[in-house]
């Protein structure tokens, strides 16, 4: 019999281990839609291993900030993940208000990644950084609106109280209809924050159209591996957040964990399908896309004024 804390740590490491696999799922789906066989599902593990074995080339204009960017990003992603309930189980750490802490850590990560990009003196990377902070500030407004909503519904304000235990918010509860608006809002935020289609295309080859990829153009070898790992963990964070909201209550822990990972797989499949069938938006349409999620969350708040928690 595992103690809850050990269980949480186990789930934390399981998530870390699974995150690259799930990214591989997206690639497989896209390959399927393109009529190709596609890379192995384990491709991302290979990529990480390959990058970790290499050396690095640094631009002469860079300073210590350049190396700090990926590290802060990874540390923020991992710390954030430690606060997230996985499969509705209690997370490793939790305190009231940890939602603010976690999202401000993500802000810290954004600060350092953008600073690292500007450190290279490349106009392209500066452009990517400018776009990243712009879209980031819009998603932050949307996500805090979601938290206000959750705080209103649960009367608490930690990720654990939102997503774990008895009073967990999920789509099958009495206030579940609000989540019909909230879940797409978080989904849009996830696509923006993790540089997926239709906001950004990880597969594009033209630097002028990139956001995230262009910021890490000069990172190479282990630095790039750290950056990639941070992105995998961040992606997993958001997907797990959504999966928790969709997870039906009333099962035993084992069943819940199984269902949770199935849901997670479904979400990554959905991202893959979305990336295959939609084109990316024009850059000036992206703010409207993010504001859609803001508007959805805002409508949910208005609706919830009629609901007594």
């Amino acid at each position: 019999m595992m103690t809850p804390f050990l269980g949480a740590i186990f789930l934390f490491f399981a998530s870390l281990f699974l995150a690259p696999f799930l990214m591989g799922v997206i690639l497989k789906v896209k390959a399927f839609f393109g009529g190709k066989k596609g890379p192995s599902l384990l491709i991302k593990y290979h990529t990480l291993a390959k990058l970790l074995r290499k050396g690095s080339v640094y631009s002469r204009s860079t300073t210590f900030i350049f190396g700090l960017g990926p590290l802060v990003s990874l540390a923020a992603s991992l710390t954030g993940l430690a606060f997230l309930p996985i499969a509705g189980q209690n997370p490793v750490f939790s305190f009231p208000g940890d939602v603010v802490f976690v999202w401000y850590l993500f802000g810290l990560a954004r600060f350092f990644v953008a600073a690292a990009a500007l450190d290279t003196a490349s106009p392209f990377e500066g452009m990517g950084a400018a776009r990243e902070v712009f879209f980031g500030l819009l998603t932050e407004a949307a996500i805090f609106l979601v938290f206000l909503q959750f705080a209103f519904l649960s009367g608490q304000y930690s990720l654990a109280s939102f997503l774990a235990g008895e009073g967990a918010i999920n789509i099958f509860s009495r206030e579940g209809f609000l989540l019909v608006l909230i879940v797409p809002a978080i989904f849009f935020v996830m696509l923006t924050e993790n540089a997926r289609v239709p906001v950004d295309d990880p597969a594009t080859h033209l630097e002028l159209t990139m956001i995230h990829e262009v910021m890490i153009l000069d990172h190479s070898g282990p630095d790039l591996a750290i950056m990639e790992a941070a992105v995998f963990a961040r992606m997993f964070f958001y997907a797990a957040f959504i999966a928790d909201l969709l997870l039906p209550g009333g099962f035993g822990p084992g069943m819940r964990i199984l269902l949770f990972f199935l849901l997670l797989l479904l979400i990554y499949l959905a991202i893959g399908v979305l990336e295959s069938i939609t084109a990316r938006l024009k850059m000036d349409q992206v703010p409207k896309f993010i504001l859609t999620s803001f508007a959805l969350a805002f409508f949910a708040i208005i609706l919830s004024l009629e609901v007594t928690p």
Partner: protein
């Protein structure tokens, strides 16, 4: 014992005053004079700092008073709120005095430096006197001295026309604001019949609100609340950097002190004041940071950030007062504590940033960001300290800015789930949302500053040859930076003073502080844990790279082979898309000379963000006042006999009025 403590305060004031006066007599001995100012002011500030900090922690109240001219009461009283504001005055005063030693090292400006020391000591003294004033008379006297002293400090570089205009504009604003403060006090005096600033017995509800609103305009213009902020972006670039640090870090907070003291004194309807402060704060915060983002001048940018942070402070106080009116002590305590702690935090990181900007000015000769770049290599100490200040002002963990914003967030999130009435609920939503938006915009703004000024490649020859500054300009920054980190990592200890001051405003019993202590402990653990994690990762990365081949090469130019430093993203291009998104509030004015002929003259492009508030204020208010006053100009003709006639006529009219009455 209490009497002794008063003498210590007095000796601290005397030391500061001596530090201001002695240099005036040492004009022929430059090095001695340069030492005397900072030494006197600094030692006085140390004494005052220790004294006020211990008083604050012991929550003691002291009073001193005597009658001036027989009937004007000059009384002073130090309570928790006063000591809370005294601490940053002395601390930042000390840092500014030390910093000025190497910052003002121009032998050719001996007189000017001596006069500067005098006004610096006067500014610190008058600020201290404002926050300990207990009667309207002493308050207004100290307030006016503070305005004059700071205006004189802005005039340090009076050779440039822009600086004289900045000082003039500031002077008009502070005098106009002073008039509103006087009006508020006049109304209060006529209603209560005493000069005391302690809570008056009975006032009608309308009078309370009217007094508070008048005071809000007066104090708000000093604090730089949004529609009354236009003096800040002119005054701060004009003043020497340590004066900007003192003015932006501390002096504008005296406006916040005035608002709080007046709130305590007249107790206006909290149902109106809370939402009002939230609206004002959200507006100042969002639009302030937006305008900051559009600036190219580093010190002007920091000045707009002061507007933003005053906004955050007001949001916190507003949420707290909303909590008082809704009878939710939890919301009230967290909101007020967050707002008050932000007063300290902003004093710290803003003076750190202004000193950093001063180092840049000293080391390169310009603060125009589009002429800088790559300073981290030649000025690593300044660069790292500026980075610390930037992270703190963005409210990012694990630094102090995060703590105060976190408390306000907790108040807001608690308020959402506490089943409030719809109206307060919506204001709480507004408060939380505005904080989130401000946080995001601040990150955008300071990645721009750090990236454009300290990272990348130098854009000019001067930036390439930048040099690090002398130790008196670095040591104060290191100390302030360390305090920023300490507050961020151990918020429990440092937020207690703010809690006590908040308790004073809430009134009633001592507030329940267990929630704040619990949360602070969690934040310490989480922040420390994050740093530990980061340290571990840094160590692992170093281990990994030990056996790797590392090469250095030019930046990958995406196929372009002749990149220059001038092709980098500039401060204007970085901010452009965000500014365009917020178009109704921002307008970018552009001048562009296009390439037209085969052999074109040099092309030029210039962009400038228009401050719409200033623009509208100028157009609809300033011009009308000017038009009205120009009609009255015939009164001012310069004939002295007529002026004497005015006086005589006025006297006669007043006498007649008394007779008729």
């Amino acid at each position: 014992m209490a009497c002794d403590r008063k003498m210590i305060y007095l000796s601290s004031f005397l030391l500061i005053g001596t530090g201001g006066i002695i240099p005036l007599f040492l004009m022929h001995r430059f090095s001695l004079m340069r030492l005397a100012g900072p030494a006197g002011i600094g030692s006085g500030c140390i004494v005052g700092f220790v004294c006020s900090l211990t008083d604050l922690l012991a929550a003691t109240t002291r009073t001193v008073s005597w009658a001036w001219l027989g009937w004007l009461p000059l009384s002073f009283r130090i309570d928790v709120l006063s000591s809370f504001f005294l601490v940053p005055i002395f601390l930042i005063g000390l840092a500014a005095a030390v910093y000025s030693y190497h910052y003002l090292d121009d032998r050719a400006r001996t007189l000017r430096t001596a006069v500067h020391s005098f006004f610096l000591s006067l500014l610190i003294l008058s600020m201290a006197l404002v926050v300990i004033a207990d009667s309207m008379i002493s308050f207004v006297l100290a307030w006016e001295v503070m305005s004059v002293a700071s205006a004189a400090l802005i005039l340090y570089n009076y050779g440039e026309k822009a600086n004289r205009r900045a000082a003039y504009r500031y002077f008009i604003f502070s005098q106009g604001g002073g008039l509103f403060v006087l009006a508020a006090f006049g109304l209060l005096f006529s209603a209560s019949g005493s000069f005391s600033l302690a809570a008056p017995a009975a006032l009608p509800q309308d009078a309370r609100l009217a007094i508070f609103l008048l005071g809000l305009i007066g104090f708000g213009s000093k604090a730089g609340i949004m529609p009354l902020h236009f003096w800040l972006p002119y005054a701060h670039p004009a003043a020497p950097s340590h004066v900007s640090a003192l003015m932006s870090g501390v002096m504008i907070k005296i406006g916040i002190y005035g608002i709080l003291r007046l709130y305590q004194c007249v107790a206006p309807d909290a149902h109106i004041v809370g939402p009002l402060l939230i609206i004002l704060g959200a507006f100042s915060g969002t639009v302030g940071v937006l305008y900051a983002l559009g600036q190219h001048d580093l010190k002007r940018l920091l000045a707009y950030h002061s507007v933003e942070n005053i906004g955050i402070i007001l949001v916190g106080i507003g949420v707290g007062i909303l909590g008082i009116s809704a009878q939710r002590p939890f919301i009230a305590l967290f909101g007020l504590t967050g707002g008050l702690l932000h007063v300290w935090n902003h004093a710290l990181f803003k003076s750190l940033l202004f000193m950093g900007a001063g180092n840049v000015l000293h080391g390169v000769g310009t603060v125009n960001m589009n002429r800088l770049g790559g300073l981290m290599k030649n000025m690593p100490k300044t660069g790292i300290l500026f980075l610390v200040g930037s992270l703190a002002i963005c409210g990012l963990p694990p630094l102090n800015g995060f703590i105060s914003e976190f408390f306000i967030f907790v108040a807001g999130l608690n308020g959402t789930g506490a089943g409030l009435e719809p109206m307060p609920f919506l204001f709480i939503v507004l408060a939380v949302l505005s904080l989130a938006v401000i946080g995001g915009l601040a990150v955008a703004c300071f990645t721009k500053v750090v990236g454009v000024v300290f990272l990348g490649a130098p854009r000019t020859e001067a930036a390439l040859h930048a040099h690090e500054c002398r130790w008196t300009m670095i040591v104060p920054m290191i100390c302030i930076g360390a305090v920023c980190l300490a507050i961020g990592l151990f918020p429990g200890i440092f937020s207690m003073p703010a809690v006590m001051a908040a308790g004073g405003i809430m009134g009633g019993d001592a507030p329940d502080i267990t929630a704040i202590l619990d949360l602070s402990r969690s934040i310490s653990l989480a922040g420390g844990g994050f740093l530990l994690f980061l340290g571990l990762l840094i160590y692992l990365r170093r281990l990994l790279y030990r056996s790797r081949q590392v090469a250095h090469a030019p930046t990958w130019g995406c196929g372009f082979t002749a990149p220059t430093a001038r092709m980098q993203y500039t401060s204007s291009s970085y901010a452009r898309s965000i500014l365009q998104f917020y178009r109704p509030f921002t307008r970018i004015r552009e001048e562009y000379r296009e390439i037209e002929s085969v052999l074109p003259p040099p092309a030029a492009y210039r962009s400038h963000l228009v401050d719409r508030m200033e623009d509208w204020g100028d157009r609809y208010i300033g011009r009308n006042i000017e038009r009205f006053c120009s009609r009255l100009r015939f009164i001012q003709h310069g004939f002295i006999q007529f002026y004497i006639a005015y006086i005589v006529v006025a006297l006669i009219v007043l006498l007649l009025y008394q007779l008729v009455r």
